[in-house]
């Protein structure tokens, strides 16, 4: 990995509600990882648009819901039987 220079660093302490002010970052969203040795890593994230649902999938959903509301179901499926296909 390339070297990531430190822009600046500072010390903080948590207030009574376990908060501290985060300064000097342009990101608004972070994923947080807390390590067992008490290091906390904040990784910047960005929101991106979720992929739209295709017309074919929407039609499937509509038909399934229509039948579900009409009480038309095909009975329970055996998920374990499907998992056994891949256990060989």
């Amino acid at each position: 990995m390339a070297e990531n220079p430190i822009a600046f660093e500072y010390n903080v302490h948590l207030d009574d509600k376990n908060r501290f002010a985060l300064r000097g970052t342009r990101a608004r969203y972070f994923s947080v990882r807390v390590f067992k040795d008490n290091h906390v890593l904040l990784s910047p994230q960005k929101l991106v648009a979720e992929q739209p649902i295709s017309p074919a999938t929407l039609r499937q959903i509509a038909r399934s819901i229509k039948n579900l509301k009409a009480g038309k179901t095909a009975g329970a499926v055996d998920v374990r039987a499907a998992r056994k296909v891949f256990e060989r």
Binding site: A2, V48, L58, R63, I65, L68, G71, T73, A76, A82
Partner: protein
């Protein structure tokens, strides 16, 4: 709490029965086998805990409003740009889940909801290396 998985009719039930029957006979193509493996794993997680973090389940408000039934989305695949999704609703009875639709082929070029920005290596802080806080 364990949920019983039902397949929506007609497409989902037909797809499931076809993949299961051919899978048990060893007649799935490579791509079908990968898809069916991921789908059945996701269903296994869903039946045990619809809120399992690996599924990234969330409600699709627009569809819930449109159909008058809470429609949920869960991912079959994670951490890849070609995430596959399934859509489901609670019912017909209590502790039942009905699979309404599943995307078998990812939309190429689309991205996940959150993208992680790659990290670089962090240098050690000079003040810390000298023993000061």
């Amino acid at each position: 709490m364990i949920f019983t998985i039902h397949m929506g009719v007609p497409e989902m039930r037909a797809l499931w029965d076809d993949l299961l029957a051919r899978g048990q006979r060893g007649k799935l193509s490579g791509e079908e086998r990968i898809f069916f493996n991921k789908w059945s794993k996701a269903l296994d997680l869903l039946s045990g805990n619809p809120r399992h973090p690996g599924l990234r389940t969330h409600e699709i408000d627009d569809l819930s409003r449109k159909f008058g039934v809470k429609v949920w989305q869960s991912y079959l695949k994670n951490r890849k740009s070609d995430a596959l999704r399934m859509f489901w609703a609670y019912g017909p009875q209590r502790h039942d889940i009905t699979i309404l639709a599943v995307e078998r082929h990812p939309d190429t070029g689309k991205r996940k909801v959150y993208e992680r920005i790659p990290l670089s290596r962090f240098p050690s802080s000079p003040s810390r290396s000298q023993g000061r806080n």
